[in-house]
Subunit: 494 residues, 4 copies
């Protein structure tokens, strides 16, 4: 994950205004093809980050590391590179870029030779107090080489005076706050850590004699591993000598996973709290239909692919026709991510196109999973009207997003969150729809499996809608900022 | 397009055994941002070829050419490269690779300085007599630099003794046979040619004062151009001085477009004979349901994305639930196309994963658009049973493919076509399904809009199912082979 | 070699205004490590061309080709690439770039599949009638892919109606004029051709059972091959079945090698007409001293490295001290060849620096091998005065260059040749020297081994000084020009 | 410079067994084109290191850094890259690689954001106690990212509790020992430091209002800067607000520069102690001749280029003919540094070739600057005999090298130093010469300008010959070793 460094301006991201989670992690023990299996796991987690990817392995003697810009399948698909990554233990990481620092050394896993031996760390999430920690370490003579939180964690481990590596790790995580899922590779063990509230996801799988630690169950499926259980919130799992041990150093708390794993991030086939994300999203769509029962339209059209499941649920509940009225061009992985001014100015449809014959003269019920800035919705609604739609009604399968995230999700600032600044009527008018509805917060809880908010746990980390932050965003509140980082290394590989 | 050079062994393609069309073409006249508009058009046609792409422009004085391996969006997305491609006239090409000759000079458009001036040519299709022509030209002292049919066409144009470029082109196309759609850029005009039967597609669009010639209407939509009409079979259209002229040098024939444009190739939102490909495919699904009316199952699941439309049609007609029971990983554009032995041996699900919670304990009706080798179907059926399916019934929304193509579609040999060698029962057993049905040929014609085969035109080029080849595959039948081409230039850019 | 395409502006070459020969060639038969030996030969010939290099091999069945920009040692130094070039027969080429067309396909050897089988051609020299031939071929329907003369030769071979490859080659070389040394690889033989006057050099060597054909003997030395003899002027040597056969299809003429091989091009250790180039140059220096006997100075300083041998001769004859008063920075292979404006504007000494302690307060006798544009001499003289020289006297170890070359040497136009436009006094004043002398033409002939010009052969091709062109420069004299070549392929690898 | 990490095996360097100095440094203040001037300076210092180069600049607000593998002229020759390096202050570094760690992050200048602000450091030399320091820092929680001494220095600066940057630097250099010349760029100043004995060189120049700090005066010449003086041994010079201040924190000692700067490293035109290196070397040659007065031979031939000056001196003193009997191929900058096994096994002469016509039937007096392993000398003597030499007498213009260096010169181990293990007769026989002489130590001192060793300073650091080490090689003597550094990052840019 990447720290929102306050002193560096965020690159504007006009082209995909959805919330973006930062990073996927994977680790495997005791496996003959550890590097290949990790490449496959990262490939299954590719939706969590496409900017870069890396793998660190350990063969009992030495560590091996390869980091690349771009997709896993473009980089870790050759015998040659997989063979370089020797050893039966591996961890890997997919990086989603937030700030403009696209330099190779920012790509994870992060590796360091500490006094306690080598350690590789892959991290998903965001620390809420890393700048404060970092500034203290710098005063003490530390030199930072990256702009990532992960280096902060590794430095805390290296600095710890505790005797064993596990002790040092516990020492370090007691000092950090925020949402985090860590997978680490020491000289004797594979270690997984999930933050005290379980905001970021981490699951355990088993493949023959190997344990797997990873962000989502879809990374278990791809290698044929069995899903054992989630790492619990605040739990440290240590795989050593082929056995899994567990430590729970924190006072027990109820788990509060990030609601956006349910709504958007997790791959549809990943299991969250016993159901696939696809089912959760279908249920959100069904609930949305229930809250809009008397509404009439000709066809239900999803914004593909994130709105598909909810639209199927919605259409099934109402008995309406579900139609793929928008065609998605999937060749936009990294492509056109920074199109030239020439192309941008043509106002084009790089990703979506209306399927006229489905749309023309119809009353369209457009389903999307969420609404953040509204810029894409605006374009899609216009595209549908241009294609001859009679009416376009927008239904959002989650509540209004009014508050930014500080636990590892790349949200825009409050200023840019449409629902934080406009009434529903204003939003509807901004996106140009005939009508607009959001799912209620209670409805969302019902759909995901709880009757009411605040009554019985497990609850979710739902501050996006409520503003209630379960972990104080220290760096955000103070006026702390990183005063270092004066180096602009413009080359891609400095 | 790429000639099936007989002397070069075909690379086995285990990973995507679907039929593959070869190439998309695009040309635009008189447009300020000709290169950027062409890049966008090619991006919309990316599904027609991902191996390489190229653009040739003309600024009234000089030609400019850029060719690249990989996706349009990864290569033609920067101001820098678009600005190099000066001029208001441009043609472009997406290449799908068939043989192993992935060398840059094989990427199109093909350019040549002929006695009649410069000419750029982009070609989709396959000539059935190019080896015969080629051998004759070589005897006469010609030297070939590529293994592509397109060079044969250009050489014929250059050799012609007719006075004008248009005359030379007519001279040349009278000598070639097969399925072809050509877009050419001379020093005075943009030219489009479609083969006498209209096997390969070519459409005309208009954007302000510019004419556009391209493979599919989706490439018009992306730049906001209006769809005027198809180029007719055997028609040459010449855009010169901002006017479109038409020549029809061949004796008139009824059009017979390739049926696989309807079934698989065209993007769902492209218009074929008045309807979107999506609608045609939904109709194929509906017809399939009609032919299997008494059949019962719990859910209808498409093989994504090619089976989506047919499955929606099928489910709607029967009132069954349509579910996305297979999750597709879209980050496999170029990725893992040649995975290492290490990864391949793990027998993995790089592209698809079953969504267990949808599949478990259900009777699944799996819909696919077609069945070629059956290897993927076999894997998918197994994947569904592994995920707990009670029964898996496979329904194919087109007839049995029994004959290979020679007009530009990369089909396996007859030996590898499952339906050419096995009865339906044997196929069903091979893929491991509980039952298997194909659409009837008559049903296919009904769905696409004709009552009966053989009665009233327009008919389709449907030899895949019938073995009736409307153009004689000369090179295939004779024992002609290219004896040249002894150079193995192993470097990527020789 | 590269044709001086008239329609393409020459890139100005401010940085090394010496005459430059175009290209070195190498071929070997029947050798186990043919590709590695060819790489070594080309390395020894690196001084003849640094822009690009290529090797074509033949293993009895297929040809293999690798071409690269840059130095041999940077490109053909790895097992990996050498192993790709299979076979016991190989030819190679070092390219010196004249025009701006630095595209890979212009790099040699040129390969073509002709009706007579594959043929690889490496060429040093320049045809004087290639444009005329080319235009005729284009009228006849030929399409050219490069801007090189070599393609013209290959096209003539392919076009020939004679039955055998050797016959076709003879047919082709009867049509071409100019200076050329060709090394060719057919499917049965290694062939060498030298132009009727022997303007361009070509020698024969032997290494165990292998024959070697190459531009200079230094390429024999590096692989330990024995120097047999020169290919004679107008001779074709054919190495087939391990035997060397010779054909002399032209009417006999006296040989007239290019004088600049003696003066500048050949590596000092290469043998020309029985003596090393080093000795020839020392003799030129001695002769220069004889013609300037009464002249006095403190030290003799060469312009390194091209003036070294003459300066040693000069100093030895006069008994003066020879001193390396100018230090040359040899790390300027390709480096800084196109320095940024920023660096150029600093007026710097990228290549040479005066050694102050040698120069200060001395009367310097500066020896250079030749004077072309005079820009470098001007800078060097200034550098010496800046370093405290009392007097700088410039002695040039060859006559005044007044006429351009058309046989393969990249000379500036007559306009830029200093001695073509200025008297010796004016030149002296332009370069800022205290005095200036050139060697006399008769002196030059004496030094190289002839008593008098015009009396007894062998004479040299000496038009640089006399204006007498032994082969009529047809393309130059007519107004023929290439009207084709309208493609600007800006990418490096198109 | 690069630490001789004990735990990493040294790459064998068969191809250039000369002593190699590690690195050149350059810094400039207050100059408009600071990055371009630094590139030029580094180009002039290219002989001191060819593996990599880097430049760090500061524009008053931010630092900019670019590091590259390869030559300066191949990397820093474009406007584009020079413009990225903004600011009027710059430092640069040429790296000579010793260990196998050719990863970009090991290339200098080293940059760090410390508590005292950003600091860039370029370093030439070697610390004799860096492993001891490093181990202590690691115990304390430090994490090292490179294998270079320079990081140790920077970490000491960052750790220092002193208030100002200068104080921190003084604090740090009090802890380090060895030979070092440092150029640093802080946010307010350009700083130069030379070790207490002045083992490694550092000079001060002035160009208009800019100060320059660099390894040799040739880097001043190339930009037209005036040579002011050497930085004194143990001196710190601080250029701030356009003024040069000096601090001498160490107890005063006599300067003892490394003798190999005189014998081999410095470029011939660089000034050492008032004379050019060329003159010093000529004097070494003259002294060598004096010590071998009665010796007779036909020609004096240098091993080019390092033996040139001594050979000229030798020949002049004896009145013998100096001849370039060995031709050097200068296109071996980086080229063929790691030739393939195929090429190596051919036993070839990549760099030198005998000029037969000079050598044949002559008694050769071969002059070289030094003899280290003897492998090259052996090859050259054989080459001369193969070329027909009657006798080959080898004269070495320095004493016998019997002891390795620990102050920044990459010497082989004692085991590999020929003169450490063999008598002169044995060496002579090993290299195959008729006779062999070395210069005497006293002769060397006389030639360089001192009458006798041990009497009057300035003396030289001459342990190579005497075994007297002026700074104790702590890391070498103890059994300290780096236990960290377990990461093998095989990719070039990790």
């Amino acid at each position: 994950m990447k720290k929102h460094i306050k002193t560096l301006k965020k690159k504007s991201k006009n082209f995909d205004p959805k919330l973006k989670e930062e990073c996927g992690v994977f680790g495997i023990s005791n496996a003959k093809d550890a590097s290949a299996l990790t490449a496959l796991g990262l490939h299954a987690l590719q939706h969590r980050g496409q900017e870069g990817c890396g793998i660190v392995t350990f063969d009992g003697e030495k560590y091996y590391s390869e980091k690349r810009f771009g997709l896993v399948g473009d980089n870790f698909n050759k015998e040659e590179i997989l063979n370089k990554l020797k050893g039966n233990y591996a961890i890997g990481h997919n990086r989603y870029s937030t700030t403009g620092d696209n330099i190779l050394r920012n790509i994870q896993p992060f590796f360091a030779d500490t006094n306690a031996g080598g350690i590789g760390v892959a991290h998903n999430g965001n620390l809420t107090n890393s700048i404060s920690i970092r500034n203290k370490l710098v005063e003490d003579g530390a030199i930072f080489y990256t702009t990532s939180d992960t280096e902060t964690i590794v430095k805390l481990i290296a600095k710890s005076k505790r005797p064993t590596t596990i002790d040092k790790i516990v020492d370090a995580i007691f000092q950090i706050q925020g949402g985090y899922a860590l997978v680490m590779l020491t000289q004797t063990s594979l270690i997984g850590v999930r933050d005290p509230l379980g905001i970021r996801p981490l699951v355990i799988g088993k493949l023959k004699n190997s344990y797997v630690l990873t962000s989502e169950t879809c990374a278990l499926d791809i290698i044929g591993a069995k899903f054992l259980r989630e790492v619990e919130n605040g739990e440290i799992v240590i795989i050593e000598d082929n056995e899994l041990k567990s430590i729970k150093p924190f006072p027990p708390k109820k788990v509060r996973p990030c609601v956006f794993e349910y709504i958007y991030f997790a791959r549809p086939d990943s299991i969250l709290n016993g159901k696939s994300a696809y089912e959760h999203r279908k249920n959100l769509g069904i609930q949305l239909a229930k809250e809009n029962k008397n509404f009439d339209a000709d066809v239900v059209v999803p914004v593909p692919d994130s709105g598909n499941a909810a639209a199927i649920g919605y259409a099934q509940f109402l008995g309406k026709d579900f139609e793929l009225g928008l065609t998605r061009n999937h060749y936009v992985g990294r492509t056109f991510i920074e199109p030239s001014q020439k192309i941008r100015s043509l106002g084009v449809k790089l990703k979506l196109n209306a399927n006229q014959s489905i749309i023309k003269d119809k009353r369209i019920l457009l389903i999307d999973d969420s609404l953040v800035r509204g810029t894409t919705s605006h374009k899609i609604v216009k595209m549908l009207y241009d294609a001859g739609a009679k009416e376009v009604h927008v239904k959002i399968a989650c509540p209004e997003i009014r508050y930014p995230d500080f636990y590892g999700v790349d949200t825009p600032t409050k200023k840019e969150l449409l629902a934080a600044n406009k009434s529903n009527e204003e939003i509807c008018s901004y996106i140009g729809a005939k009508s607009l509805s959001f799912l209620s917060i209670n409805g969302m809880y019902k759909a995901i499996g709880f009757d009411q908010r605040n009554n019985n746990y497990p609850q979710l980390t739902d501050h996006y809608f409520t503003g209630e932050y379960p972990v104080k965003p220290i760096d955000e509140l103070g006026d702390s900022k990183i005063t270092q980082l004066s180096l602009l290394s413009t080359a891609s590989n400095n």
